[in-house]
């Protein structure tokens, strides 16, 4: 099942999303004969929740990774039973794609659990038929558009995080519009901003302007404050939503008894 149908109808989902990072998991030299759980987990770490812009591994969405020979099975779970099925579908499909691309993987099964639409989503991804085919009466098209909407939000939130760091370092807000990416001190926030810009097709080289709109147009000094203000409410919304989801998934899957936090089963590895 490696080399699964090149187009499962997810539109540009392959370009926007985990694809860019996927290369790092594909050694250029001899492929290893068998995948190992750590490699599977590293691949899953490139799959993001589209709206929270965080890896599914970090969010606790990966319940189990099991590897038997060339067969990999993965269990995924979400903060609530009614989490939006479009996002769920994207994550299941992305998990399928990145793990299928690993060397030595012959067969992949991804199972979303405890979700009202789990059976449709799992069957749809396994058959490689695309979102609309999985929900024949309900979805009028594919998910590329919704992914792009949330990629733009992730870009705005990442811009705000980088700018907040620069302002904390003492730069005046007025000067932000003149900055280039290369003027900003290196940080994980900057790395994330550059990746989101690249995924959106916006310039991400050191010479590119820091403040650009979602079409890549550099913002003028007198537009900077309003842009940042909207970027900030976007970032606050994403952060609050992430906090809510983290709280809910912890509540939902907390092991009984005095132990809290994750069990070894939850962080992956053969159970």
């Amino acid at each position: 099942m490696t080399g699964h149908a090149p187009d499962r109808g997810l539109g540009n989902s392959r370009r926007a999303g985990p694809t860019a990072s996927r290369e790092t998991h594909r050694p250029a030299t001899e492929p290893s004969p068998r995948p190992d759980p750590a490699a599977v987990r590293a691949a899953l770490a490139t799959v993001r929740d589209p709206e929270l812009d965080e890896p599914v591994t970090d969010l606790g969405f990966v319940a189990e990774i099991r590897v038997e020979g060339g067969e990999v099975s993965i269990r995924l779970r979400l903060p609530t039973y009614f989490c939006a099925p479009n996002f769920a579908y994207l994550m299941v499909a992305d998990a399928y794609d990145v793990v299928s691309a690993l060397p030595g993987v012959e067969r992949v099964a991804v199972r979303l659990e405890d979700h009202f639409a789990a059976s449709e989503i799992n069957a749809g991804v396994a058959a490689g038929q695309g979102f609309a085919a999985a929900f024949p009466a309900l979805a009028d098209g594919e998910l590329a558009q919704v992914r792009r909407v949330f990629l733009r939000k992730a870009f705005l939130a990442a811009t705000e995080r980088v700018c907040a760091g620069v302002l904390r370092d003492g730069l005046s807000p007025d000067a932000l519009a003149g900055l280039r990416l290369g003027d900003v001190p290196p940080s994980p926030d900057l790395d994330r901003l550059r990746r989101r810009r690249a995924e959106l097709g916006l310039p991400d080289d050191p010479d590119a302007r820091l403040l650009v709109d979602t079409d890549g147009r550099p913002l003028h000094r007198d537009e900077a404050a309003a842009h940042l203000r909207f970027a900030r409410v976007t970032r606050v919304g994403v952060d609050a939503n992430t906090a809510l989801c983290r709280t809910l998934i912890t509540t939902r899957y907390a092991p009984p008894g005095p132990r809290t936090g994750r069990t070894t089963r939850q962080v992956g590895g053969p159970a």
């Binding site: 709206e51 939006a84 900030r232 606050v236």
Partner: protein
């Protein structure tokens, strides 16, 4: 009435329920899943001493309701927002009739809201007229994510929804509470899109649109709309309980709402019985923006809190 440091606060709880989510009333796995979601919100965001056993949470008594809101919770007036979910619950989850019966036994305590669903067509319009007369409705709760057979939701821009809004205007039902939550149809769009509220608020300037949960998880879209539409309000249910478990997030959310909407369009709400108003009221009155965020957000004065 809640009094603290010489300041008096008249408490209007803008969002309360009297539901039956018990197994006997669950029609299917979706009904079970729905109350489980609520219970996780309750367990996840309440202080430990306010967490109920699941059986009580599924179906609490009228005595619990009255005690929690008015005897313990400082509430002066509570606004019932019905949620029918007729595809999930045999007798409905929380209906106008159930709420209205309690309200009649406790005069002066509750405000009863109705509900409508544009998919009910002409008979639904007649039903709305009857409910408005029976319960003296001034508001309705709209749950756009409600399932109805093959349909998994609707939008305020649907032609029949426009007719219902027109009927509300005729009947003097001016407060339109819109739950913006997991609308799952059409599935490929953003499930929490609030754009239909924007269109409706423009088309019906005489009506007030109260977006429950203040647009979380789409805070920025909601704020953007609310800036342009003066008749759009934000209900604090779901955002407010962050005050206990994630106070910095709450500070930022309330700071943004004050910037974009202003202090006159933010409404206190507990979403009882998901959360008990007592601790929410106490913590909200005591709450202040942390020192290191004061550069970004203004101080929360007693006046600001009183208006909420």
């Amino acid at each position: 009435m809640y009094t603290k440091d010489g300041e008096r606060y008249f408490i209007v709880d803008g969002h309360v329920h009297f539901w039956d989510g018990s197994p006997a009333n669950q029609a299917n796995k979706y009904g079970e899943g729905f109350i489980s979601c609520f219970y996780d919100y309750h367990r996840g965001l309440s202080p430990a001493e306010w967490v109920w056993p699941r059986e009580k949470f599924e179906r609490y008594s009228e005595d619990d309701l009255i005690h929690d809101l008015f005897e313990e919770g400082y509430v002066d007036r509570a606004i019932f927002l019905p949620t029918y979910l007729s595809d999930f619950y045999v007798n409905g989850f929380n209906t106008t009739a159930q709420n209205g019966a309690v309200a009649e036994k406790h005069p002066g305590k509750f405000i009863v809201n109705g509900a409508w669903d544009p998919r009910n067509g002409e008979p639904g319009l007649r039903r709305l007229e009857e409910d408005a007369a029976r319960w003296n409705l001034k508001g309705v709760k709209l749950y756009t994510a409600e399932w109805k057979g093959d349909s998994k939701g609707w939008k305020l821009t649907d032609p029949w929804a426009q007719r219902y809004l027109e009927k509300c205007r005729e009947l003097g039902i001016t407060n339109i509470h819109v739950h913006k939550g997991p609308t799952i149809w059409p599935l490929n769009r953003d499930a929490f899109d609030v754009a239909d509220v924007d269109d409706a608020a423009t088309a019906f300037p005489e009506l007030n649109f109260i977006v429950e949960h203040c647009g979380l998880p789409r805070l920025e879209d909601f704020c953007w709309i609310a800036v342009q539409e003066p008749n759009v309000y934000g209900g604090l249910a779901v955002a407010l309980p962050f005050i206990h478990s994630r106070p910095r997030y709450f500070a930022q959310v309330i700071g943004e709402l004050l910037y974009w909407l202003g202090e006159d369009r933010i409404l206190f709400a507990s979403d009882y019985a998901i959360w008990q108003p007592k601790w929410l009221v106490e913590m909200f009155v005591d709450f202040q923006i942390p020192e290191d965020l004061r550069g970004e957000y203004p101080e929360l004065t007693p006046d600001v809190k009183r208006k909420a």
